[in-house]
Assembly symmetry: C2
Homo-oligomer: 386 residues x 2
Amino acid sequence: MENRLPALYTLGIVGAGQIARMTQQAALKLGITPRLLAENIDDSAALAAPDARFAHPDALSSFAELCDVVTFEHERIDIGLLQALESGGHNIRPGTKTLRCASDKLHQRRMLSMKGYQVPAFAEAKGPDDIIDFAKTHSYPLALKSVRSSTDSQHAVWIVHSEEEALKVMAEHSRVEMMVEQYQEILQELVVIVARRPGGNKRTYPVAQVVNEGGLCRKIQIPADIGPHIAKEARDVSQQIADDLSAVGVISVELFLTAGGLVVNEIAARPHNAGHFTIEGCATSQFENHVRAILDYPLGPTDMIFESATTLNVIGERGCEDPANHIQDALAIEGAHIHLYGKMPAAGSKLGHVTALGQNHEQTDEVAARAEASLLGKRYLKGERN
Amino acid sequence: MENRLPALYTLGIVGAGQIARMTQQAALKLGITPRLLAENIDDSAALAAPDARFAHPDALSSFAELCDVVTFEHERIDIGLLQALESGGHNIRPGTKTLRCASDKLHQRRMLSMKGYQVPAFAEAKGPDDIIDFAKTHSYPLALKSVRSSTDSQHAVWIVHSEEEALKVMAEHSRVEMMVEQYQEILQELVVIVARRPGGNKRTYPVAQVVNEGGLCRKIQIPADIGPHIAKEARDVSQQIADDLSAVGVISVELFLTAGGLVVNEIAARPHNAGHFTIEGCATSQFENHVRAILDYPLGPTDMIFESATTLNVIGERGCEDPANHIQDALAIEGAHIHLYGKMPAAGSKLGHVTALGQNHEQTDEVAARAEASLLGKRYLKGERN
């Protein structure tokens, strides 16, 4: 992985959601035409792709043959296949070690715990007995989680308040590999995005603060409203994790700020929803730095060029209209950066995002909220929901 | 042209150079998958296009049938064909009136002169007699120009210092429609980019100052080093021209600052090479505002978000290497925004551009020059050429 790549590459991107769409755009800016492996012709990135191939991700081997470097939008990839490709000399980035860690949350917890990172107490939950055992030493509520990462619109965490509830979830999802965790009283949810080159050079973005709604990341404020010591700790921890994983590319570290300090929640081995503000808010977007990192190019500056940024995800609601129908109203909101992903509207699906940049969160929250409400065809009422 | 378009469109782009490539990216950001009419499979925009059709621009009618709105990267389009399409109800933008004016420099001069704009003295030059007549009242040097716009790498202006030279140029280019003009002693060359919606709403970018080399636009500094009165006059004149032409989309007005004041040199009916700084330097790029304007969407803010911007075009030289081979060195220049267009290197061809943003021209000039030198595989020597 440390070898210098040839000057002109074929970059392959596996997965075709909005993360792939924006990564593709970043590559094109640098004069690189990426090759996309998509599943459906109307996937967000496929709609924007100059060179899309359509196949199941398991057809990765033949795709990898056509590429000098392969990167991934999601972690739902067979790890054995990745290992075989890597052993065969393919440039798989961020690398099998990182992808395995991102795709298997139990493995991830074990690795983090073993390395001494602060993580919630956890255990594998193969069946009801494991839950009952865990509950003996850890009081309810507990968090049940699927071990494997799911698509962005699925809920893979269940907070349960009693043994009865826990066993009900286990029964309803008997085919899902489960783990159980101590429920965390979260003061704040933070995301740190780190770009890392094969040789270990890194750039880290300012800490983002995430507000979830219904299990989906809805609002992101940058910088996070935390003191400089916690911000430094969050960035240090995230950089250390990137090194521990020998990650190549962008990795995103989700952290909980609790009364007991920072706890590592989850690692994603790709650009993150919480980093969309970097497109207009930083000199180098997370997508461009991902492309630079996986090609072993020098990384670009990650400082914010505004004091405050707010991003709101435009999330489809049941029976909602296509936000494209309302784009004229949203574009009329001065200072909002509007991004639509070209997706068919569906409940729970991220259809686009808006970013506002400015002096302070009050100002950027309001601009972003007005733009988001416009896209969803709603009237914006100050203070109502954002 | 004033009618409101339906909410979801098929946007067609005719021409496939870097202007089309960047316009396409701006459309994709807004969730719109544009359809491209390209001539060659390795055209810059075709390499980045999700939906490219290949045909000569004269095959415009069948392409227009597939689009709700058609826009153009260049002006080398048959005007009769455009008129027929417009009469047939097609949304041709910026519109036949504007495109005719942009494509026929003699017509453009006549229109501008009739409307009272300051333009150089000019005359049609059907043959040597017209030059000889013109020289009776206007002393040499004179400028001979081709009436029709040419591709971006061709020189279409000849400065001649004597009748002998003039007649030589006329003889060598006997098949080119020519006009003759009073040569202008130029203090500064300026470009103003105006985005205009069908109803007349406009946004105007800060005045850019252009430095040409060998007939090609090489360096652009923003804001131009001119006083506020001249800047206001340049913007006012350009906005007035946009209105006079009923332009829809982005038009670019090239102005000469002479000892006698501002003179209108040329109008381009599209985003301009001098406006690439708007991608990172303004809240809304010229490409996004072009897309917004032609779709009759609200325009975005055009203010600069930095004090100073310098853009350098990366222009191919005889036998030059592909700048992509040197991208690692260029990306190492902190603060330079690198854009490559994916083109095969050729002498005189614009292969990419770099933009530096900062506090003052001295700083941004140096960063841009370092990055450009890197891309061309040269050592940067301060003060040598930029």
